[in-house]
Amino acid sequence: MKGGDMSLVEIRNVSKSYTKGDQSISVLENIDLSIERKEFIALMGPSGSGKSTLLNLIAGLDSVDSGVISVDGLDISSLSQADLARWRALHVGFIFQFYNLIPVLTAFENVELPLLLTGLRKKQRREHALTALQLVSLEDRMDHYPRQLSGGQQQRVAIARAVVTDPTLLVADEPTGDLDRVSAEEVLQLMERLSVHLGKTVIMVTHDPRAARKAHRMQFLDKGVLADAPEDTLTECL
């Protein structure tokens, strides 16, 4: 396996800033972080601290200003846009706060969608998509359109879509942020199963301490730098 005994994700001295007009705002400063294979890590921190930005960098949606991010031994900060897209298609599964299903496709078609880029035959694609839907117990809703599903169901479809390509890495940005308690609990249990039973590496951004408690590890971010957990959050979580 590539990378030998290295961590799955290695973040070395990564900085990122955005320019608004003529002033540049530093969002991430000299971040160093390693995430082990099969780890379930929760990224926490106040709003605007750069959690989503960091997650996007790890997932290859955005590029670093300086520093290196390597995933499974591959330096993704050196890839071109097109190569990065291909890499994402094969290695990363995405779960968003607002589910982001394609509204004109059925649940089944949404799950099948990422497989179009894998070169699988139609029959295999259908089998994989069905398996993924069964994993989230929504095979009976496969012909429903997103608007015909509840928020929790939509998020489970999104999880099925994220895992259908069997990616190395799952990234989730506030996956329970828009859900009620019960649905949130279902989604969290699913994510836990993905981590424990299927051995996926999961990186989850969350504000919700209950969500963070499912993770093996919590990482705090404050104003663009990694920080120790604030007292109150810790006690709430433990």
Binding site: T53, N56, A59, L61, D62, A82, A85, R86, W87, R88, A89, L90, F94, F96, Q97, F98, N100, I102, P103, V104, L105, E109, E112, L113, P114, L116, L117, R161
Partner: protein, 384 residues
């Protein structure tokens, strides 16, 4: 699957899409109609034969030529047939009933114009009867004429009542042949003139000359005109096509205006379609960002947008093209007196289809560029 996405995207805002499609349909129909007017103008040119020359008075079409020229022209090498005639300019009952009518030397003339199809029987009857006349099928339909009817033309250039008997109704061999013309014997006209206005007798308005080889047209034209140079009635000879074009060029400015308007119509509908696509794509930037997140490249996203635009534009275009037929039929009925041949040509349909295609492509250019250049992370923010 991508096809599914673009098709369903096209009809997400049903009202907006339907309105845009209707707009494109109307524009393409207007475009087709305008182009049909233009090609109707050129119908005479299109139908003319490369093997026929027209000789007229060099000064102007309204001055005649002596009948005596006929044999001289006939003797020129390369000339196979010569006939002659006059623009008669008669009206039927009232001035409003305008149509083209000619006094011609019938035997050779009909031989020169095989595209005017008469049954052998009708042709015989026409040639035998000095007062006989023939009319195009459209014209006969317009006035409800039947073979055997008495038809009286009121002369304008040649005053008096001219009593004729309809001996035949001709059809065009092809679709673009004028079926609105009217012909009778030049001899009938000439004999009357001899009695009433001897000064105008034995004069013809034009000669129609058939030549053996079309490529000799210029040479033979020059030879004919040289023959009569410095005579009291000099000639001007040109191909039938050039002769017909001479009529068209009078109205060239109008035609240019019509062409321009048809382009403006397309430009406007392009703007409308581009606006619709722009709105749709702006609303869906988040979805396109999701597709890109999943690893679909700009090519896929662009194809989805282009496809959606083409679906809308081509649906509208096809509807518009279908509508061009009844529309031009209606217009043709209204202006049929002026445009003998008013029909939608294949060329017009091709142009209309290309216009719709162009509208579809152009309308999607800016949205495609936008969806391609918005960074994925930025696009995703729009969802939240």
């Amino acid at each position: 699957m991508l096809l599914k996405i673009l098709l369903r995207n096209a009809f997400r805002h049903k009202l907006r899409t339907v309105l845009t499609i209707c707009g494109i349909a109307v524009a393409i129909m207007a475009f087709g109609l305008l182009r049909t007017v233009v090609s109707a103008w050129y119908a005479g040119v299109e139908a003319s034969s490369a093997n026929r020359l027209i000789t007229r008075n060099a000064t102007s079409l309204v001055f005649p030529l002596p009948l005596a020229y006929k044999d001289k022209i006939r003797s020129i090498e390369g000339v196979t047939l010569v006939s002659y005639g006059n623009w008669f300019g008669g009206v039927y009952i009232t001035e409003r009933n305008f149509f083209a009518n000619f006094a011609i030397e019938p035997r050779v003339y009909l031989e020169q114009y095989p595209e005017y199809v008469l049954s052998g029987q009708e042709k015989e009857a026409f040639l035998r009867d000095r007062r006989g006349c023939i009319a195009g099928a459209n014209l006969a339909r317009r006035f409800n004429w039947k073979v055997g009817d008495n038809i009286t033309l009121k002369g304008t250039i040649f005053p008096g009542d001219w009593e004729l008997v309809l001996r035949g109704i001709y059809r065009g061999r092809e679709d673009n042949i004028d079926e609105n013309q009217f012909f009778f014997h030049w001899d009938y006209l000439n004999e009357s003139l001899r009695k009433t206005q001897p000064g105008r007798a034995d004069q013809v308005g034009f000669y129609v000359i058939t030549i053996a080889h079309a490529q000799e047209a210029a040479m033979i034209s020059d030879r004919i005109d040289a023959l009569f140079r410095n005579s009291f009635a000099e000639t001007h000879t040109e191909t039938e096509k050039a002769f017909q074009l001479g009529f068209v060029s009078l109205s060239e400015a109008i035609l240019t205006a019509i062409r321009l308007i048809s382009l403006v119509v397309i430009a406007i509908i392009m703007a409308v379609a581009a606006n619709t696509m722009g709105m749709s794509v702006r609303e869906r930037l988040g979805e396109y960002a999701v597709l890109k997140t999943l690893g679909f490249g700009n090519l896929y996203v662009s194809l989805i947008i282009l496809g959606e635009s083409l679906v809308i534009a081509l649906l509208g275009g096809l509807m518009g093209m279908a509508g061009t037929f009844p529309a031009s039929q209606m217009v043709g009925r209204a202006v049929g007196d002026y445009f003998p041949v008013f029909m939608v040509t294949r060329q017009t349909l091709c142009l209309a289809f290309s216009a719709a295609l162009l509208v579809g492509v152009v309308a999607s250019l800016f949205p495609m560029w936008r969806a391609s250049t918005v960074p994925v992370a930025e696009g995703l923010r729009r969802v939240g």
